[in-house]
Symmetry: C2
Subunit: 333 residues, 2 copies
C-alpha cells in the first residue's frame, strides 16, 4: 500500500467543508442542496438510502489531458511489450498507438485499431496480473506536465465535495468511460470509493478452475463502453436507483445528467466542471472540435438548471500542494 | 409500501442471534466464523470493507418449489396478456408456458420458447411499468401450497443470518439467477438488501428522452444468465472483491462457492442449504434428476469444508409464523 487516502491529508474544517471553493454562488448552491436534502422534516428531505451521487472521473475528478490517464497506461504497457516482442513494433496499429496517433486507431466502424491495442494491454491476463501492472504503473509513472504521480492529480475541490457528500450520508459512485478493473485498483485509496461503487467500461471475464484454484481472466467479450446513453443504462443495471446528484464535464455525461435531474421525483442536482483554467490546468472544453460549436452539455446547462463550475473562478486550488503519495514508492521492475 | 422489513418482526435476542437454528455443529460453526473474522487483533480478522457475503436466492433464502417464484409471476403475466390478446393463446410456446411444460420451453440450443415467454413478460416495457407489475403480483398472489404471499416465505433462519452478518459489518449481496429488476422491487423491504447489492440475470435496458423526459426500457439485448460460472464473473464485475462468505443450495452455486473458498487469502466460509424437509418444505435436492447421482455441490462439500445445512435437523423453524405482509394489501387491478 504505497498510496494514502486523501482524507488523511485534507485539512478538516467544521466551519467550511469546501475550503478550496471560492465563496460565491457555485459553492453556495452546492452547500444549500446538500443541506436541504439532509434536513429531517423538510419537504426536500431525501432518506439516506436514496442519496446516490454519481461522478464521472476523467475531466471531472482528475484531468484528462494531454490524454486520458488510462491511455497513457496502455501506451506504456504496449512499449514494454514491444521491448520483449520487437516484431510487434512493425504492426501499423501498434506504431500508431506508440505515436499517439488516435485518428488511425479510431478508423473503421469497429475501431479495429483501438480494439487491437486493448487486446494487447487489457486482455488475455488474469485479474491479478492486470491489477499488478496497473499498480506498478501508478507507482512509477508521472504526469508529463506536472511531474507528479497521476494519483496526486485529483482535483482537491472535488475531493472535498466527495468527502462532504459522504459525511452527509451520500453514497458516491464513479460512473466513467474508464475501465472498471483499471479504476478499482486505486479508487478506494484515492477517493475513498470502494470497488463495488466503481462503474466503468467492462467486458466479461471468464472463470475457470486452474490447478484446482479459481482464476478470472480478462478478455474483450461483451465489451460495454460506459459513455453517453450507456451511463444511465449502467447506473440502472448496477445501482437500480436514480441518482439525486450527478457531476460530469462533457457530452459523455449528458445522458446521466438528464437521467438524474429531469422529472426526478426527488430533489436533484447536476454539476458540470468547466475547464477554463489554462494556467493551472487546461482550457479546452467549450466547443466541440469537429463542429466548432458549444458542447451540448454546456448549452443545455442553463435550461436544466445545472451548475457550471468555472475552474478558474470557482476554485482557489486545483490540486493538493503536498506531494501526497510518494512515501516509499517502489520502482517498476 | 405494503411490505414491512422483516427486521421489525424478528424477536431480538442479544444472547442468541440465530434462535431458529438448533443448537448443534452447524450453528456453532457459523457463529464461530463470524466471531473470528470480526475480532480485532486476531489473526483471522477481516477489515469491515472486505466482509462481503454473497447469497443465492431461490432455494437459499426462500423456496424454489413448486417452481421458481419468478416463473409463477411470468405465467401470471402471460395469462393476463392472453385475456386481452386471445390470439396469443394459440401460440405453442405460450400454451406450453401456461401449462407449465418446461420441457417444451427449454427445447433448442437458444431456448427459443423460454426467450419468447421472457420477451412477452419481461421486455418491451419501461422499468416503471415492470416494477408496477411485479409489485401488483406480490401483493395479490399467494403460494399454492402455503396460501401465503410469496414474500412471507423467506426462510427465517436465513433472515436471522443476514441480520447477524449485517450487525457484524458484513455487506450482504444477493447473487441469483433471478432477474435483477424483478428482485430489486422487494429485496430491500424483505431482506434489508438495497438494490445496488442485488445481482441477478440482466439484459441491457435502452435509454432515451421521450417527451423531454428520461425513459429506460427493458429488452433482451445482451442477456446474461447469472448462474454457474456466470456467478463469479458477475461478482467480479459488480463487486470487484472476493467474498468471504457464500450461501447457496445447488450446482448453480458451485462456481461461486469455489471462488469464495478455494485459495482465498482471507478466512472464508461456504454454506449449502440442503432441502431435506418434505413436511415443512420440500425434500428434493440430493440427486440430479438426469443422472440420478449426488449433485456436485453436495459431493464437493466435505472436501472443500463447506457447511451443509440440513433443514430438517438444523432449523427449528422454516418460516415466520406471523403473517407479516398483509397490512392493507391492495388487490391487483
Amino acid at each position: 500500500m504505497m498510496l494514502l487516502h486523501n482524507d488523511r491529508l485534507m485539512a478538516t474544517s467544521a466551519a467550511d467543508p469546501l475550503p478550496s471553493w471560492n465563496n460565491g454562488p457555485a459553492k453556495q448552491r452546492l452547500l444549500a442542496f446538500i443541506a436541504k436534502v439532509t434536513e429531517e422534516g423538510s419537504d426536500s428531505f431525501v432518506p439516506r438510502a436514496e442519496r446516490i451521487a454519481v461522478h464521472d472521473n476523467d475531466g471531472t475528478l482528475w484531468p484528462e489531458n494531454p490524454m486520458p490517464f488510462q491511455a497513457a497506461f496502455a501506451i506504456d504497457q504496449l512499449s514494454r511489450r514491444v521491448l520483449k516482442e520487437p516484431a510487434l513494433g512493425s504492426d501499423p496499429m501498434v506504431k500508431a498507438a506508440l505515436a499517439g496517433d488516435m485518428e488511425t486507431l479510431l478508423k473503421g466502424h469497429r475501431f479495429e485499431g483501438l480494439m487491437q491495442v486493448l487486446a494487447l494491454t487489457h486482455a488475455g491476463m488474469t485479474i491479478e496480473a492486470f491489477h499488478a501492472a496497473v499498480e506498478a504503473w501508478f507507482t512509477s509513472a508521472t504526469h508529463p506536465r506536472y511531474g507528479r504521480p497521476y494519483v496526486d492529480l485529483t482535483y482537491l475541490p472535488m475531493q472535498e465535495l466527495l468527502r462532504h457528500l459522504r459525511a452527509n450520508g451520500f453514497k458516491n459512485f464513479i460512473v466513467s468511460g474508464g475501465g472498471t478493473d483499471f479504476m478499482r485498483v486505486w479508487a478506494e485509496r484515492v477517493y475513498g470509493i470502494p470497488p463495488e461503487q466503481v462503474l466503468g467500461s467492462t467486458a466479461r471475464t471468464t472463470f475457470e478452475l486452474r490447478d484446482g484454484g479459481p482464476v478470472l481472466t480478462k478478455n474483450l467479450d461483451q465489451l460495454f463502453v460506459n459513455d453517453k446513453e450507456g451511463k444511465p443504462v449502467m447506473i440502472h443495471q448496477f445501482i437500480g436507483r436514480r441518482p439525486i446528484l450527478c457531476c460530469g464535464n462533457s457530452d459523455g455525461d449528458l445522458a446521466m445528467l438528464q437521467y438524474t435531474t429531469i422529472n426526478n421525483p426527488r430533489p436533484s442536482f447536476g454539476l458540470l466542471v468547466h475547464h477554463t483554467d489554462a494556467e493551472r490546468e487546461y482550457a479546452y472544453d467549450a466547443v466541440t472540435k469537429s463542429t466548432g460549436r458549444l458542447v451540448d452539455a454546456l448549452k443545455e446547462a442553463p435550461g436544466c438548471g445545472w451548475l457550471v463550475v468555472d475552474m478558474k473562478h470557482d476554485w482557489n486550488a486545483v490540486f493538493h500542494d503536498e506531494v501526497s503519495f510518494t512515501t516509499a514508492v517502489p520502482t517498476q521492475s
